[in-house]
């Protein structure tokens, strides 16, 4: 099987869908001639031309809204918002238009719109370029959110997003772009929001998503050396969430740890903890525990930046504490 980087997998997915369907087109800042600021659209401008790989002005709200209007008129636009941070300027188009038009129209208009946005904490980009927006977006009825953590999922989930008749937000992670992994373009993809058990274990359940799922897997490796078997679940998406897979694991292990890169307060972890506490209360031997970013904007300082988000050692330490206090 071929090995691809995360950005190459995204590029393959775009290429495959553009080749399959003339109504698919890409738009965003520097997606065309420049090849994409994270190289994701590399080569597509030459292959499909400037109309289908459209360089836009710096006008996030209007070009995302353009995607909305085009989707209503039967196209399958793929909007690239250069980074999650700039999506704040497009929240009107995303939340008030894309998410609500199918509903407000009584189901008359589908919204086959894909909005890609890489985000997360990268390398000292400062507070304005290191945000996570999942807490804002996952609260919006009418949106779907996928959070691929591996090149294979990046390939599968972007293709599924483009084929979906709903608006799908693809939350990528800037630090995953050069991660390598196997990508099989021939096997059938699992459903887009099916959570994946990335590692089986019986001592506790660790639920995570995006890059933090990989960090949780690394933590599980450290724990295994100490005789602790963690089950690591990669949610692969935040709306909807595959509660059945999560609940089955929590009912098996009786302990739940959630690892997230976003801030703890009112974050994804809060929703996961609350829902699984409601659903699996009888099986839980302790209150769910969260490992999350501190409630601070990202500091520029390199060491502090690492300190505010969970590292594998932090996840492992939390797992140890949870097990030691409840065994």
């Amino acid at each position: 099987m071929q090995t691809l980087t995360y950005w190459q997998a995204l590029n393959r997915a775009l290429d495959a869908e553009m080749a399959a369907d003339d109504s698919v087109f890409i738009l965003g800042e520097d997606v065309g001639l420049y090849g994409g600021t994270y190289r994701v659209t590399e080569g597509l401008y030459a292959k499909y031309g400037e109309r289908r790989v459209l360089d836009t002005p710096i006008s996030e709200n209007s070009f995302t809204g353009l995607g909305v209007g085009a989707a209503m008129a039967g196209m399958r636009p793929v909007v690239e918002i250069m980074t999650v941070n700039f999506a704040l300027l497009a929240l009107d188009a995303i939340i008030d238009m894309a998410a609500k038009i199918p509903f407000m129209s009584g189901g008359q208009f589908a919204m086959p719109l894909t909005i890609r946005m890489p985000g997360g904490t990268a390398h000292q980009l400062g507070a304005q370029h290191s945000q996570r927006l999942e807490h804002t977006l996952m609260n919006v009825a009418g949106l779907r959110i996928v959070t691929p953590a591996t090149p294979q999922d990046a390939y599968w989930q972007l293709r599924q997003a483009i084929r979906s008749d709903d608006c799908v937000i693809v939350l990528e992670h800037e630090l995953l772009n050069f991660d390598q992994g196997p990508v099989d373009e021939t096997i059938e993809a699992p459903p887009p929001h099916r959570a994946m058990v990335r590692r089986e274990g019986s001592d506790l359940t660790v639920i995570s998503y995006s890059r933090m799922a990989n960090q949780a897997l690394a933590a599980a490796g450290q724990l295994a050396a100490e005789g602790i078997e963690a089950e690591v679940i990669d949610l692969r998406g935040l709306r909807p969430i595959d509660w059945d897979t999560c609940a089955a694991s929590v009912e098996k292990t009786g302990l739940l740890l959630i690892a997230e890169e976003d801030s703890r307060f009112a974050g994804a972890g809060a929703e996961i903890a609350a829902t699984l506490a409601e659903r699996c209360f009888a099986s839980l031997r302790a209150a769910p525990m969260r490992v999350a970013a501190l409630d601070l904007p990202n500091p520029y300082n390199k060491r502090l930046e690492q300190d505010i988000i969970p590292q594998p050692a932090d996840i492992a330490a939390a797992a140890r504490a949870l097990i030691n206090e409840n065994s």
């Binding site: 109309r51 070009f63 209007g69 085009a70 238009m97 779907r144 595959d242």
Partner: protein, 350 residues
């Protein structure tokens, strides 16, 4: 312009005026909820513009859109039922007064966040351009909406890519209660378009024929692939911004002056002579209490019986629409859930 077209304009303007007046009544009766933004005074714009549109064109509108929907050809029944929040409404009771949608008429919705119509319009226009079709997109907005960033973002892209959009400003001179000279450094909206090399002009919005002529000309250019155009129609709303606004910030003489320039009265005045002559009218001796009727008869431009018949037809249409809306069932919560995501029907999500 031929007499038949005049009559069609008159009919649609009267339907619009009477429909909105009835909706105001239904609002006070509690049959219509939420915000209700009515159109009286501005009818010539909707009628002149939308009678110039082709069935293949897309229409994007604001929260003051009942009349746009009606003149576009959507049934008064579906509009009334939507305002009543019922299942047979054009948005199945999910949208309400500010969110009328109809895919069959390419009516891409009423939008209640000021300035949202521009990006939807350029998006539909981009789809049209990619398919190479001779279709156009008509994008309505008010004078208050030109101060949103989307105005500039979208006009820039429309001009940059020569998108087939006709931007139609309904300048009624007030953003809710703030008059244009207090909200806009440049009070002539059309002048803003030159920043993007978009041809634009200002036209009276109180005369349907002029609105129609200028719209046809602009659409010709738009359909030819020459890029967008902008028309600013100067008009006036007789009522407040919404039913909860008495509009008392506007001086009475101003309101009276605009009412004297009423578009429906103008239509009656300009209607070509047909029959009968003044003597026949006098002999008929039929009077209506309607001012409009008086004007028509005084000017001898419309047969008394013709106008009565027209008004009676419209009254019947309105009664039928209101009865339909009242009788239409309430939508269910299950229906509401089903409208959220089109994909749920076709895809296995989890």
């Amino acid at each position: 312009m031929d007499r038949e077209l005049h009559i069609r304009f008159l009919r649609d303007m009267l339907r619009a005026r009477r429909m909105e007046e009835r909706f105001a009544q239904e609002y006070t009766r509690g049959n219509i909820g939420g915000f209700l933004h009515l159109y009286p005074g501005e009818e010539a714009v909707a009628v002149g513009v939308l009678h110039a549109a082709e069935p293949g064109d897309y229409i994007v509108s604001t929260y003051r859109e009942h009349v746009h929907a009606l003149v576009r050809g959507m049934s008064m029944r579906a509009i009334a039922a939507e305002l009543f929040g019922k299942r047979d409404g054009c948005s199945r009771g999910m949208g309400g007064s500010m969110h009328l949608f109809d895919a069959a008429h390419r009516f891409l919705g009423g939008y209640a966040i000021v300035g949202e119509t521009y990006p939807v319009a350029i998006g539909a226009a981009y789809a049209v351009m990619m398919r190479g079709l001779p279709e156009a997109v008509i994008c309505f907005f008010g004078d208050g909406a030109v101060n949103q960033g989307n105005f500039h973002e979208s006009l820039n892209m429309a001009a940059l890519w020569k998108l087939p959009v006709l931007f139609v400003c309904e300048n009624n001179h007030y953003q809710i209660g703030t008059e244009i000279h207090r909200h806009s450094a440049v009070t002539e909206v059309y002048k803003r378009a030159c920043a993007y090399n978009i041809p634009a002009e200002r036209v009276t919005g109180m005369d349907a024929e002029q609105v129609h002529t200028h719209t046809l000309d602009a659409l010709k250019r738009v359909r030819a692939g020459l890029g967008p155009a902008l028309l600013e129609f100067e008009t006036y709303r007789y009522r407040g911004h919404s039913m909860s606004d008495p509009g008392s910030y506007r001086p009475q003489p101003e309101l009276k002056a605009w009412e004297a320039d009423d578009p429906i009265a103008a239509e009656l005045r300009d209607l070509p002579m047909h029959y009968p002559d003044a003597d026949t009218l006098k002999a008929a001796g039929i009077d209506t209490t309607e001012d409009i009727g008086h004007r028509a008869i005084e000017n001898g431009h419309l047969d008394t019986h013709g106008l009565e018949k027209l008004e009676a037809e419209i009254r019947a249409e309105i009664e039928d629409a209101i009865a339909f809306a009242l009788a239409s069932p309430e939508p269910t919560l299950d229906e509401a859930k089903g409208y959220l995501t089109a994909g749920l029907i076709h895809e296995t999500l989890i």
